[in-house]
C-alpha cells in the first residue's frame, strides 16, 4: 500500500520533471530558430540585436525583428494551437485517431481560402481578406455542426463524429468543384495554401493568434478534469457530475477558435494536431492537466523546427511547411512508440 503510493509519487515527480524540461526546451528552440535563416547573421550581431545595444546593419535589424522573429513566433503559436485543439478533440471523442479536421473547421477554412484564390481576391484588404475568409469559412462549418450538436442529446458524440464526416465530404465536394475549374495560377496558389506556410508572418498576425491561443487554451484548461472523467465513458462522466454537452460545446468552440485562427494565418498544416497530443501522452501520461500543456509545447517546437527547415533547406526559395511537419515529426513519433514505457498505453 505504502510502496504503491510512493511509486505513484515518484511517477508524478518524473512526469512533472519532463514537462518542465519541455518548457525549458521551447525558448532554446525559439532562439536557435531565430538565429538561423537565409540571411546570415553573425553571433555577435545576434547578441547586439537581442540586447538592443551597439551598431547593427539596418538590413540585419529588419530581417531579425520584422521578418524572422514574427515568423518564428507565429510558427510556435500555430503549432501550439493545432496541437492543443488536437488534444482537446481526441479527449472529447475518446478516439486516438481524432483530428481537429474532424469537426470541419479545416475544410471550411480551406473553402474560404480557395474561394479567395478562385476569384483572385487574395491580395485584397492588404492581404487580410484571405485569412478573414478562411476563418469565416471554418466557423461556418463549425456552426453547421453545432446545430447538430444541440440536436444530439445523450450519446451524441458518436453522432457528432459522423456529422463531421458528412460535413467534411460535402465541403470537399464544393472544394473539388472550385479546384477543378480554377485557372492554373489559382490552382497552384490553392495547392500551396493547403500545404501551409508561415511566410506571411508579421507582428499583427502574431498578436492576433496569441489572443486566440489564450482564449482557446483557457477554455480547454477549465475542461481538463471533465475531459479526464469523460475517458470513462459519457454515462460515467455524467454520474461524476460532468455536463457532457457543455464539455462537448466548449471543447469544440475552443478547437474551432484555435484551428480556425491558425489555419487562417498559415494554411492547412497536417500531422501536428493528430500526433503532438500522442507524443504528450507518451511522455506525460493521460491526464489532460498534463497532456494539454505538453501538447502545446511539443506542437510549438515541432512547427518551429519544421518552419526552420522550410525557410533554410532550399534557400533562397522556400518549401511548404506541411511537407516537413510529418517528415520531422514522424520519425520522432515512431521512436517514442518503440521506447518501452510503463504508462505509455
Amino acid at each position: 500500500m505504502n510502496s504503491a503510493r510512493e511509486d505513484d509519487l515518484r511517477r508524478r515527480r518524473c512526469v512533472h520533471r519532463r514537462l518542465g524540461l519541455l518548457a525549458a526546451l521551447l525558448p532554446v528552440v525559439l532562439l536557435a530558430a531565430a538565429a538561423l535563416g537565409a540571411v546570415n547573421i553573425s553571433l555577435p550581431d545576434l547578441v547586439k540585436l537581442l540586447t538592443g545595444s551597439g551598431e547593427i546593419p539596418a538590413v540585419a535589424h529588419a530581417v531579425f525583428w520584422d521578418i524572422r522573429m514574427p515568423r518564428v513566433l507565429l510558427a510556435a503559436l500555430v503549432g501550439a494551437s493545432l496541437a492543443l485543439a488536437g488534444a482537446g478533440v481526441q479527449g472529447l471523442f475518446r478516439n486516438a485517431l481524432a483530428d481537429p479536421a474532424l469537426i470541419g473547421v479545416s475544410a471550411g477554412a480551406a473553402l474560404g481560402a480557395v474561394l479567395c484564390f478562385y476569384f483572385g481576391w487574395q491580395g485584397m484588404l492588404g492581404g487580410w481578406l484571405l485569412p478573414v475568409a478562411a476563418f469565416a469559412g471554418g466557423w461556418l462549418a463549425v456552426v453547421v455542426l453545432g446545430l447538430f450538436n444541440t440536436g444530439f442529446a445523450a450519446g451524441g458524440t458518436a453522432k457528432l463524429i459522423l456529422a463531421g464526416v458528412a460535413l467534411n465530404a460535402m465541403i470537399g465536394s464544393v472544394l473539388g468543384f472550385f479546384l477543378f475549374s480554377a485557372s492554373d495560377d489559382a490552382l497552384r496558389s490553392m495547392t500551396f495554401w493547403t500545404l501551409g506556410s508561415c511566410a506571411a508572418a508579421q507582428w499583427p498576425q502574431v498578436v492576433i493568434l496569441l489572443a486566440f491561443l489564450v482564449i482557446g487554451a483557457s477554455l480547454l484548461w477549465r475542461n481538463a478534469r471533465p475531459l479526464d472523467a469523460l475517458q470513462f465513458g459519457e454515462d460515467q462522466a455524467a454520474h461524476l457530475g460532468v455536463s457532457v454537452s457543455r464539455v462537448r460545446r466548449e471543447t469544440i468552440v475552443a478547437a474551432a477558435l484555435l484551428v480556425g485562427a491558425a489555419t487562417a494565418l498559415a494554411g492547412t498544416i497536417g500531422f501536428i494536431g493528430l500526433v503532438a497530443p500522442h507524443m504528450a501522452r507518451l511522455l506525460l501520461g493521460g491526464r489532460h492537466g498534463l497532456v494539454l500543456p505538453g501538447a502545446l509545447l511539443l506542437g510549438a517546437m515541432l512547427l518551429v523546427l519544421a518552419d526552420l527547415g522550410a525557410r533554410t533547406l532550399v534557400a533562397p526559395a522556400e518549401l511548404a511547411v506541411g511537407i516537413l511537419t510529418a517528415a520531422l515529426g514522424g520519425p520522432f513519433f515512431l521512436w517514442l512508440l518503440r521506447r518501452p514505457s510503463s504508462w505509455s498505453a
Binding site: 537565409a38 540571411v39 539596418a58 485557372s183 492554373d184 495560377d185 496558389s189 506571411a200 533562397p316 526559395a317
Partner: protein
C-alpha cells in the same frame, strides 16, 4: 579642418559603391525577360521559378514561386532593387522587403500586346536604362505593327483555333475568354472556338467535335508527334475531320508571357494560321 587623409578615406569609401551596378532580383517571367533584354542580365542576382526558363538565367538562384515569395530569401541575395510582376505576393512579403530598406517596383500585368511597351518603359525607368528601353520599345512596336499588317484584311476568314493545356494526366484544358491564350489567338488572326466560356475549362468532347477547330495550339513541352496529339483529342481524334486538324507548337513563355518576344511569337502563329 578636413585632413587630406580623411578626404581620401571618404573618396575610397564612396568609389566602390558608385562603381558597382545595383543588384537586381526579378520575379515574373516577362519582367525577367525584359530586364535581360535591356542588358541587365549580369546585375540580376536571383530570379523567381519562372525566370529560370529565361535564356541565360538558368544558373541564377531561385527565390521561389512568384505568388509565394519569401522575404528573407530575397533579402539574402542582397538586392538593391526588386522588380516584380503584378501577380507577385503575398503582399505582406513585399512590405517586409520594403521595410528592410530595399526598393520594390511592381510592374503591372497586362494581357494585351499594347501593354508590353509600358512594361519595358517602367523597367527601363526603374533601372536607369532609358536608352536601351527606348530601343526595345521601338523593336516591340515595330513587331506589333508588322503583326497588325499581316493579320489585317483577313477578318472575314479567320480560322478556328484552340489553345490546349495538358494537365493532370491527359485531361485537356481549353483556354476560354479572359486568358492570355485567347488574346493571343485573336491577335494572331485566329478565332478562339472556346470563346463562350471564361478561363481554362476541361474540354468537352461534344463541344469540341461540334465546333471543329482548324488548328490546335499546344505548348512545345507537350510530348508526342502530331498524330499522337490528334489521337488524344477527345471527340475528334477518331473522326475523319479530326485528321485534318493541324497542330501549332508554341514556346508558352513567349506566346503567353506578354514580354518582348510575344509579338514575334504571335507573328509566327499568324503565319501558320494563314497556311492553306
Amino acid at each position: 579642418m578636413l585632413r587630406p587623409a580623411t578626404i581620401l578615406a571618404v573618396l575610397l569609401a564612396a568609389l566602390p559603391a558608385r562603381a558597382e551596378p545595383p543588384r537586381l532580383v526579378t520575379a515574373g517571367s516577362a519582367v525577367t525577360e525584359i530586364a535581360a533584354a535591356l542588358g541587365l542580365a549580369p546585375q540580376i542576382v536571383a530570379v523567381d521559378t519562372s525566370g529560370k526558363e529565361v535564356e541565360g538565367m538558368g544558373d541564377k538562384p531561385d527565390v521561389g514561386y512568384v505568388r509565394m515569395l519569401g522575404a528573407e530569401g530575397i533579402l539574402s541575395q542582397k538586392p538593391d532593387l526588386v522588380l516584380v510582376s503584378g501577380e507577385a505576393g503575398p503582399p505582406s512579403v513585399l512590405e517586409q522587403i520594403r521595410a528592410a530598406g530595399v526598393e520594390v517596383v511592381v510592374i503591372p500585368n497586362g494581357h494585351s500586346l499594347d501593354n508590353i511597351d509600358d512594361k519595358v518603359r517602367a523597367i527601363a525607368a526603374a533601372t536607369g536604362r532609358a536608352e536601351d528601353g527606348g530601343k526595345l520599345v521601338a523593336k516591340v512596336e515595330a513587331d506589333v505593327q508588322a503583326l497588325r499588317a499581316a493579320t489585317s484584311g483577313h477578318e472575314a476568314e479567320r480560322p478556328g483555333a484552340v489553345f490546349l493545356l495538358a494537365r493532370h494526366g491527359g485531361n485537356l484544358m481549353a483556354a476560354g475568354r479572359e486568358t492570355a491564350a485567347h488574346a493571343m489567338i485573336e491577335a494572331s488572326g485566329g478565332r478562339n472556338i472556346c470563346a463562350d466560356f471564361t478561363g481554362y475549362k476541361p474540354l468537352s468532347p461534344e463541344i469540341f467535335a461540334a465546333s471543329a477547330p482548324d488548328f490546335v495550339i499546344v505548348s512545345e513541352s507537350v510530348g508526342g508527334d502530331d498524330a499522337e496529339i490528334l489521337a488524344g483529342l477527345p471527340g475528334l481524334g477518331a473522326t475523319p475531320a479530326g485528321r485534318e486538324v493541324r497542330i501549332i507548337r508554341v514556346d508558352d513563355a513567349a506566346f503567353l508571357g506578354f514580354g518582348p518576344r510575344t509579338p514575334a511569337a504571335a507573328a509566327a502563329v499568324a503565319a501558320a494560321l494563314r497556311q492553306p
